[in-house]
Symmetry: C2
Subunit: 132 residues, 2 copies
DNA sequence: TCCATTAATGCAACAAATTTGTATTTGCAA
DNA sequence: TTGCAAATACAAATTTGTTGCATTAATGGA
């Protein structure tokens, strides 16, 4: 799917910043941070614009935000683009890459009276490349 | 277990700040943020000192850091104090409380070549009190 | 194609959470 | 009791993200 179709299918205007973000993310195959995306785009856009673009595309279901740690936030392409549903993430403690995993998430047993809205899981370890 | 023993068992010096943090946490039964702990201790210590104390006690296994979201970090008493092992956490989106859950965590299937060091899960929802 | 409308962007300022440097104080072992 | 390493306070810096506002650009319809 091309960046133009992705944006149009979600009723978002086609802008250079949004298309740049999507292109970088589709190429990398990993979840990326604001600063990583900005450096790939050679500083063509303001930081504010990236943050507003992330928010817009997250609200539209194109991206999802992954909080690896405070001070480490990444964005990944969502179901609408990749076909994957809610899933755990893997953080490599060596190369700091973040990958979306294919599994689905299972809620743990909760105390009585508690209800669940959302589940998030981060697996920390070492990726294939760094283990080699 | 008293705060003195906890610190001594982990080869940490007994200081007013560390004992204050532990006392507040043992009383509350929930995971607390730096500002919550600071307000319980009536501003007796500098914020820097709290952050350095958290780090020291986390490194020693007395506390664990819970990242609910970027911009929302809490600390909980660890296994060494409570007897609980690695566990998921629950965040109430209504009252913003964070609870350590009793279940244990199961790692999802990883791609070949990947290895796991640590697992973190946050369940977001509504707690018993807020559901009532 | 041209235009009006409305959304997107850039820029400056702001803000909160956390970290770092350093001089001073304190815990504790000898 | 004393010496020394560790802990603390305070100021300043960093990191990450947000907000207000004037300017620019995308898009649908004339
Ligand atoms: Mn993902
Ligand atoms: Mn916990
Ligand atoms: Zn790696
Ligand atoms: Zn609640």
């Amino acid at each position: 799917m091309d960046t133009f179709s992705i944006l149009r299918n979600h009723n978002l205007r086609r802008t250079a910043c949004r298309e740049g973000i999507l292109k970088v993310m589709m190429t990398s195959g990993k979840a990326l941070s604001e600063s990583e995306i900005r450096s790939h785009l050679m500083g063509n856009f303001d930081r504010t614009t990236f943050y507003r673009s992330f928010k817009t595309m997250e609200d539209s279901g194109i991206l999802h935000k992954i909080v690896v740690d405070d001070r480490m936030v990444r964005y990944g392409l969502s179901e609408a683009v990749t076909g994957k549903s809610s899933h755990p993430h893997f953080y490599c403690t060596t190369c700091h890459s973040v990958f979306c995993l294919d599994q689905s998430l299972v809620a743990p047993q909760l105390p009585s009276g508690f209800s669940t809205d959302d589940l998030e899981m981060i697996v920390k370890g070492v990726c294939k490349k760094c283990n080699a």
